[in-house]
């Protein structure tokens, strides 16, 4: 076929007299347009069909419900929310709760995963065995069971409010959660925040400068220590200089539980613990594979240059391993985010529990709610992989 058509084209004299019908470019475009139009048409057909069907079955449809009063309460909310807020606000609260547990979970899982992954390659028998057992145990038990286990464990370890633990004065721990004093900023307290931002900016600058200097002169600079010192020191200085303009509002035991303060609910602790520990096991395997993928010759070369094992790992192995690690690491981040929807089993008010749970049921608008929920997870996943792809392209081997 191909040869025949190209022969035809040649006969016609390089396109001059060819009908557009035979032009591969035009054809390509036409087919793509047709496919897109077909898909859009199908989508429109489904949407229309759904609307008609819902109407015929007497089921309410549309997005109007989002601005109606929710009328139910949520146990954890990062933004002001009461039962007088709208369903849309409830959606937002659920979304933030999902983002909260997913982002902290990703950080913990990554740190722990790297530690365990490296530990699996340790020369120390005990460390290696512990890391191996950790990975094999956590990776092979279904996550839902682990979550239920951690929830049960958290609840049975913690005492009731009247017997609360008080690890630090003003901080209480019981089976209603971890209760921290609330930080209330007085006028002038914004200086502390600015100091923190300045410190972060300065440490980024210093580490850039240090890297450049090392590349040029070979001299090292303890940029990590200095950076940490700045980030802790500067805000502290600002705090003291401005005359400590911050009040702590302590929680007080009243009736059933503590009043006031900031509460980290046990559902959050259990979910975070479960998600982070589970995902860390997978990340550990990815890290181990990444390190093993760097040829042993690299280590030997580094040693013969006189680098110590620690520096070898830091400067030679890990940077090369990262190229292998990042793509599968991205999938683990996506998995953790999506797995956070198991929250509903242990009563953590994430997006699925609040929106695809309570809101769906109180409004009965399953079609709309499920589509919105799916779109949210899709967007979160695309954003995460977009970011990781960008990071990956920065880490990729730059061929000279």
């Amino acid at each position: 076929m191909t040869s025949a058509s190209s022969a035809e084209r040649e006969q016609a004299g390089d396109g001059s007299g060819t009908s557009w019908f035979y032009n591969p470019r035009v054809r390509g475009v036409v087919f793509q347009v047709l496919v897109v139009a077909f898909l859009l048409g199908m989508l429109a057909f489904f949407a229309y069909n759904a609307k008609i069907n819902l109407e015929r079955a007497g089921i309410a449809s549309g997005l109007g419900f989002l601005s109606e009063r929710a009328g139910f309460d949520i146990s954890q909310s990062l933004v002001p929310y009461t039962n007088d807020s709208t369903y849309f606000r409830a959606f937002y609260v659920g979304l933030l709760n999902t983002l909260l547990v997913a982002s902290i979970g990703i950080v913990i899982a990554t740190v722990l995963g790297f530690i365990v992954g490296i530990a699996r390659l340790s020369k120390n028998f005990l460390i290696r065995q512990i890391a191996t057992w950790y990975v094999e145990l956590l990776r092979n038990i279904p996550l839902l069971l682990q979550l239920l286990f951690w929830y049960k464990a958290v609840l049975s370890v913690l005492p009731s409010p009247r017997q609360s633990l008080e690890p630090v004065s003003g901080v209480y721990l019981n089976n209603r959660g971890l209760i921290l004093p609330e930080v209330i900023g007085q006028p002038g307290s914004s200086a502390i925040l600015w100091a923190l931002l300045a410190a972060i900016a300065a440490s980024i600058g210093i580490s850039r400068w240090a890297r450049k200097r090392q590349q040029e002169t070979g001299r090292q600079f303890p940029s990590l220590l200095v950076g940490l010192g700045l980030i802790v020191g500067l805000p502290l200085l600002a705090f003291l200089v401005t005359g400590m303009p911050v009040d702590l509002a302590y929680a007080e035991l009243a009736g059933f539980n503590f009043r006031g303060g900031v509460v980290v609910i046990p559902e959050f602790m259990a979910l975070l613990l479960g998600l982070a520990l589970y995902t860390a096991a997978f990340i550990a395997e990815i890290v181990r594979a990444g390190i093993l993928a760097v040829s042993h010759g690299q280590t030997e070369a580094a040693y013969s240059l006189g680098l110590r094992p620690r520096r070898t790992l830091q400067l030679v192995i890990i940077p090369q391993a990262m190229r292998v690690i990042i793509p599968p690491l991205t999938s683990q981040f996506l998995n953790l985010t999506k797995n956070s929807s198991l929250a509903v089993a242990i009563g953590y008010p994430d997006l699925v529990a609040v929106f695809a749970g309570t809101v769906l049921n109180q409004t009965g608008q399953a079609v709309e709610v499920i589509i919105i929920t799916m779109l949210v997870y899709l967007t979160l996943s695309l954003l995460t992989s977009g970011f990781m792809n960008w990071y990956n392209s920065r880490m990729a081997l730059v061929e000279r």
């Binding site: 489904f46 949407a47 069909n49 759904a50 008609i52 069907n53 819902l54 015929r56 079955a57 007497g58 089921i59 309410a60 009328g71 139910f72 309460d73 949520i74 146990s75 039962n83 049960k152 609840l155 049975s156 009731s160 089976n175 209603r176 009243a254 009736g255 059933f256 539980n257 009043r259 046990p266 559902e267 929807s341 509903v344 089993a345 242990i346 009563g347 008010p349 699925v352 529990a353 695809a356 749970g357 309570t358 769906l360 049921n361 109180q362 409004t363 009965g364 399953a366 079609v367 499920i370 589509i371 929920t373």
Partner: protein
């Protein structure tokens, strides 16, 4: 969980909902040879498998009565256990033919969900259960408490209204599955468990130490629980409605599972019409004329069912109270068969 809800999106899009909703449910059920009944995941007294694995309970008996009326066989039923959240979707999409799952009849459910409630097989109200050791004797002392509740219920909304109306605060702890709520309350995560009072009596029996818990006297809402069907199928709506009425009329007329055969020869025209000795009432709902006799024979009248499943002599020990017949000062009242 959510995965069970995805079919409704596809179903709606592909047009399955329309077929499910407009079809004559009775014909479908007859063709299948059994009734698919949406029930609880396990609430003793209302719907739970017994030690032989047989589903029993007040709501289960309603399903069995419908099956008996259609097939002359109370066992021609299959049960689909549904959580509070899944139940309406399951009915809307046609996964079940009828929903009998301690479901409160509310205006929005009766209208915007595309459902019709056929009656009230149990008049209930929402209550609170607490540990005796808390020393609480009234719901008005509950300010600041943590409250365990199941998602997708009227319970969740009444709770908010009640605390708000009384100027009290609380921390909700919301779960999707009944066993999760029970476990959390049992593990002392919450001070209070709230749901329909009938549910509280049943749940209390499943806790580690039932005697350590009390149900507070306040009833904070009206929870008329009843069977629901899809809108747009009047024949099926009538059938389910009249199955319940038949059981009430039977109790009122003194027809029981023990005497139903003799009663067919009764001189009382009310009884003769109910049991099909006179008139063609069964045909009017697409059944044979001995439809009510079949129900009473296999399942019993309303009073018998109540006593067997939740009544004073059962572990739940619930008094007839407002669920007594109107002739005995209760609310259960059925229109006459005529």
């Amino acid at each position: 969980m959510t995965h069970k809800l995805i079919p409704i999106v596809l179903g709606a899009a592909l047009g399955l909902t329309a077929t499910a909703a407009s079809a004559a449910t009775l014909d479908d059920v007859k063709a299948k040879g059994f009734l698919q009944c949406g029930s609880n995941t396990g609430l003793a007294g209302f719907a739970a498998p017994d030690d032989k694995g047989e589903w029993t309970g007040l709501d289960v008996s309603m399903c069995r009565a419908i099956a008996a009326a259609i097939f002359d066989d109370a066992n021609a039923v299959k049960f689909t256990p549904l959580t509070a959240k899944e139940r309406f979707t399951a009915l809307q999409t046609g996964e079940v033919d009828v929903l009998v799952r301690n479901t409160t009849w509310t205006m929005s459910r009766d209208t915007t969900l595309g459902l019709n409630f056929t009656g009230v097989n149990y008049y209930d109200g929402q209550g609170f259960m607490v540990r005796k050791s808390l020393g609480v004797s009234s719901a008005l002392e509950l300010s600041g408490a943590s409250v365990c509740v199941q998602t997708g219920t009227t319970t969740e909304l009444n709770l908010t209204d009640y605390f708000k109306a009384n100027g009290m605060e609380y921390n909700p702890v919301v779960f999707e599955k009944l066993e999760e709520v029970n476990a959390a309350y049992d593990a002392n995560r919450c001070d209070v468990y709230t749901t329909d009072a009938s549910g509280l009596y049943s749940i209390r029996l499943q806790l580690t130490n039932p005697a350590d818990h009390i149900v507070l006297p306040e009833i904070i809402s009206k929870e008329p629980l009843g069977p629901a069907v899809r809108q747009g199928d009047d024949q099926w709506f009538n059938l389910v409605k009249w199955v319940h009425f038949a059981m009430l009329n039977a109790e009122e007329l003194g027809v029981t599972s023990a005497n139903v055969e003799e009663m067919k020869n009764s001189d009382n025209p009310n009884i003769r019409r109910l049991l099909g000795a006179e008139g063609a009432f069964g045909e009017s709902i697409g059944l044979s004329n001995d439809w009510a006799a079949r129900i009473i024979k296999h399942v019993g009248n309303y009073g018998e069912v109540f006593d067997k499943t939740v009544g004073p002599d059962t572990p739940l020990g619930i008094a007839r109270g407002v669920n007594a017949l109107w002739t005995k000062g209760g609310l259960q009242y059925a229109p006459p068969v005529r």
